[in-house]
């Protein structure tokens, strides 16, 4: 009897031992793997442009305070070095986890396949349809998403309500067509005493593109058309563009531009308007904090940039979030991105000088709290930005084809010749880019 009991007892002991070992092994293997972008741990190396770092600095601090297991480490890239720094990191296989990239630069990187494909995650976002169409369009390549909107840096039409009133114009009725811009500017110019009807950054090619192109977007027009790799230039014969150049030419001939308009390259753009000396200024929404600081905001009105005979749009400038291919913590990066796109964070953007990238945050309460930003955000839904590899070379660079066209049309009065010059210049740049 005793001998049969021992094998039975031994079996029980062995089974118990195996069971406990299995349980221990399971316990030591750690928790089950989290879905992508959920409960991620570790650190996220986040690069942001110095030009737009204010938002990131403030919100990263808040994120880190509320996420003990995931820390975002923010680094700023120097002005004009963000793309070259990222390119260098890619070549060196030492990429950060997340980058806040100027949205017009995203296509260059998407095309080279150096960004993570986020299509499935973007498509799963319940608020995808409310995201800025311009930002999202720039993050899309060959039907896939390689980024999501991060922050909006939009163009708007500022006007001085006090000067409008003094000139006999309705301060609550900003110009909504090209004809109204010209007539209102002329009326304000007549006030004299150093007051100008209109101001522009007339020697800043990037600034001019930023505030002029929305007038074409408003009527669904683009200078560069088609998908990357098969793009064409539409300048000669472009009626909205011709009307736009004619408007600026008329303003110049009527001498309603402020004295600094011809030479303004950007550093002091909007200063004369902030001082109350200019009636109408197409500019950046980012001027808002400066006008608040100057104490002149109570006299300032804001409107979207109009098309030739109505409608409106904006330049969907700003940054997109992108995750470089080969990032060490893409899950952590995506968790941070989703947190940033929550409404609770988006409504904080105006106080930091930026516009949210979700139009569904535009509620009556938001409009009441942020009356100026609400105008910009409303325009966001109608906004656009050229999706092309040649934006910098065609628009932003010194003496770009865009600026040569503007100069010839506005300062020399040869609009037809200017458009031919522009057509040739844009086509040359497109060819050099290999498109």
């Amino acid at each position: 009897m005793r001998r049969r009991g021992i094998p039975r007892l031994a079996s029980v002991v062995v089974i118990a031992a195996v069971a406990s070992l299995s349980y221990t092994a399971a316990a030591w293997s750690g928790p089950a793997a989290s879905p992508f972008g959920v409960n991620a741990t570790g650190t996220v190396q986040f690069w942001t442009r110095a030009a737009t770092s204010g938002l990131g600095v403030a919100l990263v601090k808040q994120f880190n305070a509320t996420h003990p297991n995931l820390k975002v480490v923010l680094s700023e890239t120097s002005p004009n070095q963000d793309t070259s720094k990222l390119a260098t990191a890619i070549r060196a296989h030492a990429v950060p986890d997340l980058v806040g990239l100027n949205d017009i630069d995203v296509p260059q990187f998407s095309r080279e396949g150096v960004l993570m494909d986020l299509t499935q995650y973007v498509d799963a976002l319940p608020y995808k349809k409310y995201l800025s169409p311009g930002h999202l369009g720039l993050a899309q390549y060959n039907g896939k998403y390689y980024g999501v909107p991060y922050l909006g840096d939009l163009s708007v039409l500022w006007y001085n309500k006090k000067l409008f009133q003094q000139a006999g114009l309705d301060p609550n009725k900003p110009p909504a067509t090209f004809a109204q811009i010209l007539s209102d500017a002329k009326a304000i110019q007549k006030l004299g005493g150093g007051i100008s009807g209109f101001a522009m950054a007339g020697n800043c090619q990037g600034c001019l593109g930023f505030v002029m192109e929305p007038s074409m977007f408003a009527v669904n027009d683009q200078l560069i058309r088609g998908p990357i790799g098969h793009q064409t230039i539409h300048i000669v014969g472009n009626k909205p563009l011709e009307q736009l150049l004619q408007l600026y030419r008329n303003l110049w001939v009527a001498k309603v531009d402020s004295p600094g308009s011809r030479t303004e390259t950007g550093p002091t753009w909007g200063n004369d308007f902030e001082q109350g000396k200019v009636g109408i200024l197409p500019g950046a929404y980012g001027f808002y904090p400066l006008m608040v600081k100057a104490g002149t905001i109570k006299d300032i009105g804001i409107a979207p940039l109009p098309g030739p005979t109505g409608k409106y749009s904006t330049f969907d400038g700003g940054d997109d979030f992108v995750i470089p291919a080969g990032a060490k913590n893409p899950s952590g990066a995506w968790e941070f991105v989703q947190w940033m796109m929550q409404k609770a964070q988006q409504v904080k953007y105006p106080s930091l000088g930026y516009t949210p990238v979700r139009t569904d945050v535009l509620t009556p309460a938001y409009r009441a709290k942020n009356p100026y930003n609400a105008v910009a955000l409303q325009a966001l839904a109608h906004g656009s930005a050229p999706v092309t590899l040649i934006y910098d070379a065609a628009f932003n660079e010194p003496n770009s084809p865009w600026f040569q066209m503007f100069t010839q049309a506005v300062y020399k009065g040869d609009i037809t010749g200017a458009m031919e010059t522009g057509q040739a210049g844009f086509e040359r740049v497109l060819k050099e880019a290999g498109d």
């Binding site: 004009n80 990187f109 004295p259 030479t263 390259t265 003496n399 050099e432």
Partner: protein, 327 residues
């Protein structure tokens, strides 16, 4: 008892007694053979190599390797990102059929010719004024050198604001003395922009020239001037016959630095006149090609071309301005 020859035989067999063992006698110094000259030289060479090796490593890392890699890049179609291909000397052969590059080279030479004489003359004049070490000379020397310390980039940004028509002090001042209108646009016309930029650069660089020449002037023996005065030489004759010949090296240094700086001009033109294509320098075109159009291989070939040109010009200056009276 062992005696005589037996002692000798025993000693031969077993060596001398303990007390009598010979101690080694060190040779007299004149008997030690001196190391040969070659051995000394080799030893000195080894020590020298060890001492300069850290500097060689640094120069290798930060000068030689980057230069070699740059030469390699210039032989490819290196883009911002993506694959690149070896294309040989194609970038170099394209240089002189690139009208913008040719124009940039011509303008850079023109600009160098415009600013170099005033920088030297103003610097020389300031050095003459301050070499006597009169009361306040040190303060003025500091003030004249301050623009160089502040830097051309900051000063260009300052003038970008102060040259604004209608709001900057330049137009305000010039309109008060009747030289220009209060809304004069300085930076959009070729001639006016070049004039203003040249004035700013002379203001910036003359202080350095002053400093170099002042140091050289202080090394000229006072007795030479006294001897010239005894001979009845005028101030101008003393400058021509005493100061300038003995200042040859300092003049050469200041001119070479000035010319190199002018060939590398970028900041002032980029900040003040970036849309004025007629005022585009070589470095500006290199920047645009490399960092706007992302043709890094082509941009590198232009940069290396500039390095060679600067080297040749500097060599020419050295030859022309060398001190031929040295033995």
């Amino acid at each position: 008892m062992i005696e005589g020859e037996d002692v000798a035989r025993v000693e031969e067999a077993i060596g001398p007694a303990v007390g009598e063992q010979e101690r080694p006698v060190p040779p007299r110094p004149e008997e030690v053979p001196a190391p040969s000259g070659n051995a000394l030289r080799r030893r000195a060479a080894r020590i020298g190599a060890v001492l300069v090796s850290p500097a060689c490593v640094l120069v290798g890392m930060f000068v030689v390797f980057p230069l070699g890699f740059a030469i390699y890049i210039s032989l490819t179609d290196w883009p911002l990102i993506g694959p690149y291909h070896y294309i040989g000397l194609q970038n170099y052969s394209s240089l002189f059929s690139d009208p913008q590059f040719v124009h940039a080279v011509e303008f850079t030479f023109e600009y160098t010719g415009i600013v170099t004489p005033p920088i030297f003359l103003v610097g020389y004049g300031l050095a003459v004024l301050l070499r006597a070490n009169r009361f306040g000379a040190k303060v003025f020397r500091t003030l004249f050198f301050l623009p160089f310390v502040v830097g051309l980039t900051i000063e260009s940004f300052m003038f970008a604001i102060e040259l604004q028509p209608g709001s900057g002090w330049v137009d305000w001042l010039l309109s008060k003395i009747g030289v220009a209108s209060s809304t004069q646009a300085w930076t959009v016309s070729h001639d006016r922009a070049l004039l203003m930029i040249s004035v700013i650069v002379v203001w910036f660089a003359a202080g350095l020239t002053m400093l170099i020449l002042t140091a050289g002037m202080q090394g000229i023996p006072r007795e030479l001037y006294e001897a010239a005065e005894v001979d009845g030489a005028s101030w101008w004759r003393k400058e021509l016959r005493v100061t300038l010949p003995l200042l040859r090296r300092s003049i050469a240094l200041s001119l070479i630095i000035s010319v190199i700086g002018s060939f590398l001009a970028f900041n002032q033109f980029f900040i003040l006149a970036q849309n004025n294509v007629s005022l585009e320098t070589v470095v500006e075109w290199v920047y645009q090609t490399g960092f706007s159009e992302y043709h890094l291989g082509y941009a590198t070939s232009m940069a290396l071309f500039l390095v060679v040109v600067i080297g040749l010009v500097s060599m020419g200056q050295f030859l022309l301005l060398r001190d031929t009276t040295e033995v």
